[in-house]
């Protein structure tokens, strides 16, 4: 067992945890998106670590990282689109005030 792999995976785990905390605890849409970015960042670390320490000669791993980066950019684009639309309509992107879907 190499400490490098474990270190990288622990970093990923910690970022994932911090991201979950952020996404759940924040009331503002933009801050929630930051939490999601951190979760994805955790995934990125894991992917790179797996590629490097387990399969350095198979580039599908690096490819996957590129896709996740694309997803991060997508998340930003769509998230901010929604945020602007919501701010225009309600004057708020606070999730406490987004109660329209409450049963």
């Amino acid at each position: 067992m190499s400490p490098d792999l474990l270190l990288a995976l622990f970093t990923g785990a910690a970022l994932f945890g911090v991201g979950i905390y952020g996404a759940l605890s924040q009331t503002n849409l933009v801050m929630i998106m930051m939490g999601v970015e951190l979760i994805l960042a955790g995934a990125l670390v894991n992917l790179v670590a797996f590629w490097r320490f387990l399969h350095p000669h198979s580039y599908a791993g690096q490819m996957f990282v590129l896709i996740v980066m694309t997803v991060m950019a997508l998340e930003m684009a769509v998230g901010f689109g929604v945020a602007i639309a919501r701010f225009r309509a309600r004057g708020s992107v606070e999730m406490e005030e987004a109660t329209e879907l409450q049963g």
Partner: protein, 175 residues
Amino acid sequence: MALISLQTVFIAFFGIAAIGFGIWVFRTSSMMRSALALLFSQTALGAMFLAMQAEFLGVLQIMMMATEMSIMAIFMVMFMMDPGGLGAMEMSHQKRLSILAGVAGALATAGIALFTQWGVVVTSAPAAAEQTRALGTELLGRSMLIFETAGVTILTAMIAATAVALPTLQRKRNA
């Protein structure tokens, strides 16, 4: 482990930096600081990729996140009630639950990482130039379809997001 290599030191250092900045994101009330803390967290991650000899991905991560998080910063300042963090407002809810979920998530993933049999760890990675070339071949060979799909998806998302964000015709007439 008798000998701790330089690589290990670097991975640990940048990993801790990334986590530290990640936590700082939610501990400051200034929006600009949050956004830039996230940026530095991602940059530290990029540096960690470099330490793991994934040169192309590391540089790409460092480059993409700089612009991405700067854009994040402008939206943060736009959509926050108190962007400067002067009022020391509370902007979080369900704190206990979130902390629990976060810790549980981190522990679960860490546990999986610890107890899984990962198999043989490869000690050497291909040289950077070779990697870049091989990644390019991968992108334009076997994974081309996936990559093209990602490209089209991001274009669609850009158009959709712009369409959503534009003011409606009705409102334009009223203005």
